[in-house]
């Protein structure tokens, strides 16, 4: 059985820079930090990190009808708006989108933390379910993003929802890639989402992995930098339309790039610690599947979140799996770690790098950690010919994912 080639034909984003892919790209290319101090969090006992890169406020009433919004917390709302933009960007006709040949695989760390807190706050404090509204469960369920996206866009194909924290979007892209490659679906809307909440930042705070530079929000996180002090959580949603090359060509769709390899391994070592050998193994498997050698890789878009352990493990894994001279940067310095959305939003920016033939630097990287200096860390916007790149995402719980993405020329 011949397998389909899988290309990316649409992009949609809700990010700490606002609504839409253009806002995201403008923020990144202008080198703006989207990190802020969350003043209300000062009231939370024990929370040392008051930093986040939230989605700026907007009026959702103008975006979606009430009957759709009633089952959405912020996380599903972001996913839905991003999915609408991605479908429109890909030029998917109503008939194609709703005809059963298009599915959705959209993950998040959990359902909406805001809705979870409201529901359990009432349930636990009052020992009652009496005032709980009918839409609340649909905001907190694990597949809230994918379900709400399918309902709103009229998608009748396969619905999936990987929930693996920081690799939710990466796993979604991986699963979408497999479904299109195998021919089960002609196209898939893939990605992830997450929202800003003190309890989410608190997860990193508890394990001493959150940045606490509350006095200088515009200078943190700083992946690969000697002075980095941890993660800043961001919010939003990044959605991509994955489609078979045949379908894309038939529709005359614009092709942003091709996913030609997906490495996905579990490290089975430690629930929280990164594992360099497993990171390398994911990249090696992705390259093998794509039929490319390490010499073919022009750039690696790192997961690097700004923790000492994670940044070092990844830099060393890249040096081992690819080579020491390969260009590497992380986007976390710009808009924080958007968790379940990271693989989606970062891939959107990576596709733009392929389009513009420019490498975006790691924001705030000034004093390179010697233990990360085993690769070529990009510190300034760099024009460079790039054709084949790697996208990494890793998650707590031992998940290691790597993609090979290639620029598609007209003649291939």
């Amino acid at each position: 059985m011949s397998m389909n080639r899988v290309v990316i034909t649409g992009r949609g984003a809700v990010s700490p820079y606002g609504l839409g892919v253009q806002q995201l790209l403008d923020g990144v290319w202008q080198g703006r930090s989207a990190v802020k101090v969350m003043e209300a969090w000062r009231q939370i006992s024990g929370l040392k990190s008051l930093l986040a890169a939230p989605v700026p406020p907007f009026d959702a009433k103008n975006k979606l009808p009430r009957a759709r919004r009633r089952s959405m917390g912020p996380v599903a709302l972001y996913a839905t708006l991003a999915a609408q933009e991605a479908a429109a960007d890909a030029g998917l006709s109503e008939a194609f989108l709703t005809g059963g040949e298009v599915g959705a695989v959209i993950g998040s760390t959990t359902g909406s933390p805001e809705a979870l807190a409201a529901l359990y706050g009432h349930y636990l404090l009052d020992n009652s379910i009496e005032a709980i509204k009918a839409g609340e469960f649909f905001k907190i369920m694990g597949h809230s993003c994918s379900a709400n996206v399918c309902m709103t866009l009229g998608i009748t194909g396969e619905q999936w929802a990987p929930t693996s924290a920081c690799t939710s979007a990466a796993q979604a892209l991986g699963l979408g890639y497999l479904l299109v490659q195998s021919g089960r679906q002609q196209a898939m809307l893939c990605g992830g989402a997450d929202e800003t909440h003190a309890s989410v930042t608190g997860v990193f705070d508890v394990v001493r992995a959150a940045s606490c530079r509350n006095e200088t929000p515009g200078a943190t996180p700083s992946p690969f930098d000697l002075k980095r002090d941890g993660v800043v959580c961001g919010a939003g949603s990044g959605i991509l339309v994955l489609e078979s090359l045949d379908s894309a060509r038939q529709r005359g769709a614009r092709i942003y790039g091709e996913i030609c390899g997906f490495g996905h391994v579990n490290d089975s070592e430690h629930i929280a610690h990164p594992h360099s050998t497993s990171m390398a193994r994911a990249m090696v498997r992705a390259m093998a599947e794509a039929g490319v050698s390490s010499a073919d890789i022009d750039y690696v878009n790192a997961h690097a979140t700004g923790t000492e352990q994670g940044d070092r493990a990844e830099a060393q894994a890249i040096a081992q799996a690819v080579r020491g001279s390969v260009a590497v940067s992380s986007l976390k310095g710009h808009f924080g770690h958007t968790l379940g959305a990271a693989g989606g939003l970062e891939t959107i920016v990576l596709l733009e790098m392929l389009l513009r033939q420019e490498l975006v630097p790691t924001l705030h990287l000034e004093d390179i950690d010697p233990d990360c200096h085993c690769v070529d860390l990009v510190q300034h916007l760099r024009p460079q010919a790039i054709k084949t790149v790697i996208k990494n995402n890793f998650a707590l719980g031992g998940v290691n994912a790597a993609f090979i993405i290639r620029r598609v020329e007209d003649d291939v």
Binding site: K61, R66, A67, R70, E130, A131, K133, A134
Partner: protein
């Protein structure tokens, strides 16, 4: 004590806010499901907001299910208010 007219006005006000409807559409003859486009999930939320607004307990499921129009709802609440007062 709230008059029946005040109750009707309050019902229109809270339901218009809850379901983002034009208050002018909430006339006595308007049907909840067809004219106002509400559904079974909205019916649950309607009970929640009305209980909170009026401090009443809307527990007669059979009567609740029989409500078709805004006028049915007004009359149901007026009767209940008289009973629970």
């Amino acid at each position: 004590m709230m008059s029946d007219d005040e109750l009707r006005r309050k019902v229109v006000e809270v339901l218009a806010a809850e379901f983002e409807l034009d208050p002018a559409a909430l006339v006595p003859a308007a049907t909840l499901y067809d004219d106002l486009d509400l559904d079974s999930l909205d019916a649950v939320d309607m009970v929640v907001v009305l209980e909170k607004t009026f401090g009443l307990k809307l527990s007669d499921e059979e009567k609740l299910r029989s409500i078709r129009t805004m006028d049915d709802l007004f009359n149901f609440l007026i009767e209940l208010k008289a009973k629970q007062a």
